[in-house]
């Protein structure tokens, strides 16, 4: 397939891998975090780590919107879906995310809540138009990539004069989460995370550009290479990071020049700014409450805010104490280190959010990586 196969070419992959192997200093370790779940998925699906020297380690970051959604927000969506007048429209990925007491949207649906799986915000608008007697609530989640479509949906509802459409807003922002990881901010557990560089977001960066990452390079001395979601993109970004580290540079570099510009998509940014404002604080699964890290609707769009419209309050909700999603999302632990991984927590019966979305670190590792861990351990032994 044109414009896809070129970025998955095995021969090219081997040549980039050879470059990484040649340039990586065998006497040190390179700990690189791919922030995005999209990267995690590509790395796992194409078996990219098999091509890397063992001292180049990839740490899976929290850039998976389903994974960072805290239990309290899932509970809120479930409570909302149980209101008799409400039809909750949600992405399929969200259906199995565990809420409190083993509940999920999927279970609430089976119990009779009117929950519809949709593919886009437009589907939710369509339902609202077709069923004026129902209160249609769109369960909005995601990073900067999915926020502009939600903003457009609000605009569209406004233009159409739709009175029965609102959103449960959970949109979050990437830079504050990267800041939190570097600062070690977390729920009481401040295990420092050793990260020497970031593979920067692909789609998020098409919207926000490269500028927002400058402080991480300038102030924290962490190189950032923005990379596309194809496996060759990731491989090349790794090579670029290894070079920066070797040369003592800390810069924001853009591997994904075919889509990302320094300033990003200004029109999308303007739409988002017109509809949303920053929340003072928002809870992230695994990272705790992060200041100015999420968005809510501006007061002039309050009519579309399901939280206000239905008086939904965030109740306190605690994750399973054994669940390590938090430390895994910060890159402080590997999925395998969690006691629940692969025992009671599998993609069929997820306990933690990292196991739910295919982009989650645990689900990706379970689905694609389990046997590879053995192979890599063997390779490490050989090297040692």
């Amino acid at each position: 397939m044109k414009y896809v196969d070129e970025y998955r070419d095995g021969a090219l992959a081997r040549s980039i891998a050879a470059g990484i192997a040649r340039e990586a200093n065998p006497n040190r370790t390179y700990r690189l975090m791919e922030f995005c779940g999209g990267h995690t998925h590509a790395i796992s699906r194409y078996g990219l780590e098999d091509l890397l020297p063992v001292n180049v380690r990839l740490i899976h970051g929290p850039g998976c919107p389903v994974c960072v959604l805290p239990m309290a927000r899932v509970d809120m969506a479930i409570a909302c879906s149980r209101l008799p007048e409400v039809t909750l429209a949600a992405y399929g990925d969200l259906m199995r995310v565990p809420g409190s007491g083993g509940l999920s949207l999927l279970k609430a649906k089976a119990e009779g809540a009117d929950i519809r799986m949709v593919y886009s915000t437009l589907d939710a608008i369509r339902i609202a138009e077709a069923e004026p007697g129902r209160e249609v609530v769109f369960f909005a989640i995601g990073f900067e990539t999915t926020t502009p479509p939600t903003a457009l949906a609000i605009r569209s509802a406004e233009k159409k004069g739709l009175k029965n459409f609102s959103i449960l807003c959970n949109h979050v922002m990437t830079p504050p989460a990267m800041r939190a990881i570097l600062d070690g901010a977390s729920e009481g557990d401040a295990t420092p995370v050793l990260i020497e560089g970031f593979i920067g977001p692909a789609h998020v960066s098409t919207v926000i550009g490269t500028h927002p990452y400058e402080p991480f390079a300038r102030d924290d001395r962490k190189p950032v290479v923005i990379a596309g979601f194809e496996p060759l993109d990731v491989a090349q970004a790794i090579l670029m990071l290894v070079r920066q580290i070797n040369e003592g540079r800390a810069e924001v570099e853009n591997q994904y020049i075919r889509a990302v510009t320094p300033s990003g998509n200004l029109k999308a940014q303007a739409e988002v700014a017109a509809v949303f404002e920053t929340r003072e604080s928002f809870e992230w699964r695994g990272l705790g409450f992060l200041p100015r890290s999420a968005l809510k609707l501006r007061p002039e769009f309050a009519a579309y805010d399901a939280e206000l419209r239905f008086g939904l309050a965030e109740a306190l909700a605690k994750d399973n104490p054994a669940c390590e999603c938090g430390t895994i999302l910060r890159g402080a632990k590997a999925p395998r280190a969690c006691k629940l991984f692969g025992t009671v927590c599998t993609p069929d019966t997820p306990m933690g959010s990292c196991m739910v979305s295919p982009e989650g670190a645990c689900a990706a590792h379970w689905t694609y990586g389990r046997f590879r861990e053995r192979a890599r351990a063997d390779r490490r032994k050989e090297v040692a």
Binding site: M1, V4, R8, D9, G10, A13, R14, A17, S44, R45, Y46, G47, L48, E49, D50, L51, M95, R96, V118, Y119, D123, R126, P231, T346, P347, D348, A363, W366, T367, Y368, G369, R370, F371, R372, A375
Partner: protein, 349 residues
């Protein structure tokens, strides 16, 4: 008016709809069965008008299966729920190495379902059944209130006969055995999805729905003693089938992504839908696990059959206590091919 012979109004096959009387056991039901099902499936057993079909039992091992079809939409590129039901049931019988003999079909119809659509489904079933040489010899019809079913659900059963002593079961794969797939994967799932509400996209892909018993007969003739197991990778796709075989046989599989035939259009559709062709349903393909010494003749026999022209050796069974299905990716790395968790696509067949 002649009291001896009441005028019977014909079914309005153009604009008429199924109503509750069509399932009530009265004349309306009799007319529906006669004008639609008997007309489409016509054979001596049905014409006899009994509540069952009687036939002599052939010598050998009887093979029996049952299946239900709830696919949505009921008409899709390359097929419809009727053809799917006939072919799917035949395939379940054929995978045991058996010759399918007879089918049954039950219809659960939603009140208001257009008679024209029912006729179209029945006609397609009749055609598929005649093409396969496997008659539908008994059936049933129920009508439920609007909203209690979605258009029409079809439930089938099938019987067939296999040679005495032939046992093809899913626990029979052994390390070293060769895995062969009979053609391109993912066609059916993508064809159905392309017509899903809110998901419609333009594609040339047709469902691969087909009865595979002819192909199986050729395979049995060429490599019968070497065949361990056959399976049609329907829901869950090739990934689910290989995982089931791995678990039931207590082996792992090692497969090559490059060797798996996938149409470029299917790759493209999966790409933008975020799916993996390995998880997408097929309705006219099979996976055969064969002893290595028979792999060559089996592959040749499969390729010689029109439904197996694109057959390909995709890998081997290996010793693995974890029963993993491992794949060498085209990119050059390795990965696990797992079952898909949750429901990727409800109502694909």
């Amino acid at each position: 008016m002649n009291p001896e012979k009441p005028v019977r109004r014909k079914l309005d096959l153009k604009h008429g709809r199924v109503d509750l009387s069509h399932g009530a056991g009265g004349r309306a039901m009799g007319q529906l069965i006669e004008d639609i099902f008997l007309a489409a499936f016509d054979n001596a057993w049905l014409r006899a008008g009994n509540d069952q079909a009687a036939f002599d039992v052939a010598a050998g091992r009887m093979v029996m299966t049952t299946d239900a079809y709830v696919v949505s939409p009921i008409f899709f590129p390359g097929g419809d729920i009727g053809a799917l039901a006939v072919n799917g049931t035949i395939n379940d019988i054929a995978m045991a190495g058996a010759r399918p003999l007879y089918l049954s079909a039950s219809f659960i119809i939603e009140e208001g379902f257009p008679l024209a659509d029912l006729k179209r489904v029945a006609t397609s079933m009749g055609e598929a059944s005649r093409a396969a040489g496997v008659p539908i010899v008994t059936g049933d019809t129920k009508v439920v209130e609007r909203g209690k079913a979605d258009k029409v659900f079809v439930s089938t059963a099938g019987v067939g006969v296999a040679p005495s002593g032939l046992v093809l079961t899913s626990d029979a794969a052994r390390p070293g055995d060769v895995a062969i797939v009979s053609g391109t994967i993912g066609d059916h799932g993508v064809a159905v999805m392309s017509k899903r509400e809110n998901l419609e996209f333009e594609t040339e892909i047709l469902s691969d729905t087909a009865a595979l018993h002819g192909l199986v007969a050729d395979m049995m003739a060429a490599a019968g003693p070497g065949l361990r197991v056959m399976r049609d990778p329907t829901r869950g796709g090739l990934a689910a089938t290989l995982n089931e075989l791995a678990h039931q046989s207590g082996v792992g599989f090692s497969i090559e992504e490059d060797a798996i035939p996938v149409r470029a259009e299917v790759v493209a559709a999966c790409e933008f839908l975020g799916l993996d062709p390995l998880n997408v349903a097929n309705e006219g393909k099979l996976v055969a696990i064969v002893a290595p010494e028979y792999a060559g003749v089996l592959l040749a026999a499969m390729k010689a059959h029109p439904l197996g022209a694109q057959s390909s050796v995709i890998g081997r069974a290996v010793e693995d206590a974890n029963r993993f299905v491992e794949m060498r990716t085209a990119f050059g790395g390795g990965r696990i091919v797992d079952w898909l968790a949750g429901e990727q696509l409800p109502r694909i067949c």
